[in-house]
């Protein structure tokens, strides 16, 4: 069996959501490599784990997701980031995409919606 092509870092201040995203991923091309509780932890783990994919919450303590997206893209222009947030207004989604995110999934989500979004993120749909 081929090794997964993509290394996934999950960033969310909710432990329940972090574990749910890890569990729900059905794509063999994606390997879960770590989870962070806020943007600052995500930057630290990025240096250590070198993820190629990130799911990113926006409203988090210490460093929010929008700031973290901008920093990650600056460090690694090839990284693909799926923002997963409850903030459902269009301006928030546009702002995240302008900062370098590759996709936006609104909470609440079903497992199927998550996998569809991850599939799009890696260009497998």
């Amino acid at each position: 069996m081929d090794a997964p092509l993509h290394r996934l870092l999950v960033v969310d201040d909710s432990n329940v959501i972090r574990k749910r995203i890890e569990r729900a991923n059905e794509l063999p091309e994606i390997e879960f490599v770590g989870a962070a509780r806020n943007g600052r932890e995500a930057l630290e783990l990025h240096a250590a784990l070198r993820p190629t994919l990130v799911t990113m919450d926006l409203t988090m303590p210490e460093m929010d997701g929008a700031e973290c997206v901008a920093e990650l893209v600056q460090r690694d222009p090839q990284i693909r980031i799926l923002v997963i947030s409850a903030l459902a207004d269009k301006l928030t989604a546009i702002d995240a995409l302008e900062k370098g995110a590759s996709g936006f999934l609104c909470k609440p989500f079903t497992d199927r919606q998550l996998n569809d979004a991850l599939r799009k993120l890696i260009g497998a749909d």
């Binding site: 988090m60 947030s85 409850a86 459902a88 301006l91 928030t92 609440p108």
Partner: protein, 149 residues
Amino acid sequence: MTLEAEVGVFVTGVLHYFGSTVQQAAQCGTPHLALGEHPEISDYTGVIQISGKRTGLVAFTAPKSMLSVMLMRMQETDMSHENLCDLVGEIANTLSGNARRDFGHLFQISVPAVVSGRGGTLDYPAHGRPIVIPIEWRNYHARLIVCLQ
């Protein structure tokens, strides 16, 4: 936006949340104003402070048994106090964040705070009149409390 329309935004959010996350529909009862005393809260309450164009709070309050079953439906096996707090905060966060679809991006939401225990109190705005939206899911009863100025 009328008060009725504002309440409708949150009712829609509650129904969507349960349909998506635990894939079992909830029902909302008749929303009502809490007159006199502040609304009772349940075992766990997730609270979001609202700032920006509107100020106030949005709170989701539910019994431990209901939150535990919701975690099970999400394939979560850890029913610890920490995870129950996490879930109730995440629900409040999601319902508040989703409301920005209708209220706009100036409806700014805080990170969730959690009150555990029925004896706790919420920090209502001085002249706020809380609206209580009863929620029924399976045989459990929860409430969404919306108090905006």
